[in-house]
């Protein structure tokens, strides 16, 4: 499948995991990588260009750090402008149907923070529900998100594992080696789950 990565991070000087993940994705052949904050530093998104990109790919990957339980501002702007009526939704807006959407996110909070008993009182998938429903309304299949928790506290081994897993995940999607049926059974997945989900 043709894979498009839309990366949104406003403070890349402070990021290690996301920027490292991004550089892996950037170097991957056959995958289109877009740094939204670099292309649109003034938030003036080229809607036609973004829509053309969507049409030219089958899997849309949203890569971002979770900010206040949501996407960074520019990615929200991207949704507001690019997912137009008549293009992405509405009676004639069928352009995105049959495509896949997947969120690859990092959170500051730990896995236990994102549980019914934790500080955030919900699992992470619940917080991404707006994105899930957006994809649904556009006729896309929303795949379970690829999540790295405690991104601020993780040790170097865990970080490197995640950083290496990310391009593997993208390559598997690209080469149709991803076991989507198995993936659909899970609410979310992480780098440890990847070996079960990718065929060689």
């Amino acid at each position: 499948m043709r894979v498009l990565v839309l990366f949104a991070h406003p403070a890349q000087r402070k990021s290690s995991v996301n920027v490292a993940m991004a550089s892996g994705a950037r170097q991957l052949g056959g995958v289109t990588f877009v740094d939204l904050y670099a292309e649109y530093p003034r938030f003036s998104i080229d809607v036609d260009r973004e829509q053309r990109r969507l049409m030219q790919h089958d899997v849309i990957v949203f890569q971002f750090p979770l900010f206040w339980y949501s996407t960074p501002a520019l990615l929200k702007q991207w949704q507001d402008l690019v997912l137009e009526y008549g293009f992405a939704y509405g009676p004639k807006g069928k352009t995105l149907s049959e495509k896949y959407a997947i969120a690859c996110i990092t959170t500051g909070g730990s896995k236990s923070d994102y549980s019914e008993e934790g500080g955030n009182r919900r699992e992470i998938r619940n917080f991404l529900y707006p994105l899930e429903q957006t994809a649904g309304l556009c006729g896309m299949e929303y795949l379970p998100p690829f999540v790295l928790h405690s991104a601020n506290h993780i040790d170097d081994t865990g970080a490197q594992l995640h950083i290496r897993a990310y391009p593997q995940l993208l390559a598997a999607l690209r080469d149709d080696r991803f076991d989507l049926a198995a993936l659909r059974q899970r609410p979310t997945f992480d780098s440890f789950d990847l070996t079960d989900l990718v065929r060689n």
Partner: protein
Amino acid sequence: MEGLAFYALCYLAAAVLAVIVSQRVGLGSVVGYIAAGVVIGPVFQISIAGSGYLEQFSEFGIVMMLFLIGLEIDPQMVWRLRGKLLGLGGLQVLATVGAVAAAGLALGFNWQQGLLFGFVASLSSTAIVLQTLEEKGLLKSDGGQASFAVLLFQDLAVIPMLACIPLIAGSGQGASSGHGDAALLENLPGWASAILTLAAVGVVVAAAHFLSRPVFRTIALLGLREVFTAAALLVVVGITVLMSAVGLSPALGAFLGGVVLANSEFKHELQNDIEPFKGLLLGLFFMTIGAKIDPEILLANWLTVAAATFGLIAIKALILLPLAWFFRIRGPAGWLFTLGLAQAGEFGFVLLTIGGDRGLLSPPTVSVSVLIITFSMVLTPLLFALSNRIVVMLERRGRHQRDADQPDAGTIILAGVGRFGQIVNRMLLANGYKPVVLDYRADVVDNVRKFGVKSFFGDAGRPDLLESAGLAHAALLIVAIDDPDRATEIVSYARRSNPGIQIIVRAYDRLHHYKLLDAGADRIVREMFDGSVQAAGMALEALGMHPYEVEKRKIVFVEQDTAGLARMATLVDVDTPAASNPEFVAGFNDIGKVIENAMMGYRSGYDEMVARGWNASDVGSIHVPRSGGPDRPS
């Protein structure tokens, strides 16, 4: 020489004094000039001594006035007003001529005299009415526009009237007064003179259309103002000579020349150059009229004069009011129209003078008629006051709809369309706003006109040009010229003359910024600042900084700099040089501390400001790659 200087002294002194008094009392300058003429006429015997020469000279005033009226004629506006112009104006002139001529016949004058009285009475005072409407801001209102249309028609109707008087006077009479105008044509057969006459008109139109632009542009590029003035006068005098040579009215020729030049970018410049000459010469004309008034005649005929004045106003008003109603100018607009136009006008003097010369009227009759016109003009302010009264009464009764008579919303003036103003102009146009553009480079003005922008050649620093561009009623002034002192002058002049206007101005540097602030500018743009920040941002990007990081750093830099600029504003005393103002110097060292520190290498303050908002609340150990931010409340 002595005699000339003496006349000039009398004339100028009387003009200045009488006009000041007359304006103060609200009667306008025309009445003042006539009064001055009445006073100095008998005392200095001006009417006898060299009066012929003076009169000929002063008739240039009329020619120039028609030239200026022609210049004012905007073909689009005439087309828009065509119904009112022909219908309202035509019916008003015809009805008034008929009614007054009939009254004349009833009073025992012959038909020729009655017709002449009708001509005189049908005209209103363009000078007084337009001036008053402009002063009251009513020119663009319904009533004002109708008045303008009728005045325009009257001004045009003067031309056939002037041609008519010799005809109705009959060829036998008054041959003595011939100015020797048609000397050139005297010995030619009829058809030849007709061809020559048409050719003269053609020459005026063609020259004004094809020749004026290159000539004026050449002169403008020379940059010699007095040559431009001379050229403007040359146009008027040239037309006069040419028209006189073929026996046509110079006024007609001047009017035609004016119409052809009305669409030229040099219109305002021509207006401003001719205007003072026209004013003075017209003043001279009115003074010679006044000088001819014999106070004894007034005393002997005061009852006739009073009765005829009120009769004249009554007849005119009774014709105007139903016409206004018929043309749907009702309520306040109708009353403004009716009472505003109820006086006789300055062209009446011209017609009477010619009628007298041709022997149509006896000198005492001319004097009495001049008195009647004068008094009807003197009463104009009272008539405007009366219309105001009626409007107030109507308003109390609530019988008319509000905002029927509002002045127009206001315009945008853009001073300077060089490299800076051009972009402002383009963006305004792209967003549907059409500014009035002023620039002193003829080629630039030419260029902008291609896009259908109203642009005028002239120095935007000249108050009269700003006024012609509509400063008094404009909503926004953008000063985009590159001369800092000029820009400051324009801002302070505009602020004084139109306190409500918004002013956006281009500043040369920091100090100029403060001067402009002091002069009354609302928004100030430092001409180099934004472009320089862009270039710096590009440099950072070229050096590998992430574009969004660059954007944030630009924003913080601009904010800090602007805040420093604002903090300093309180310390600035524009009259003291910055270097010798200790508070300013101290403050200057204080501004933009964050940026200055960053420039010295201590970047933490700047970095903190740039990165604010994406600091994680619980940053872990240093070697751990970090990502994400405050995704949970802490």
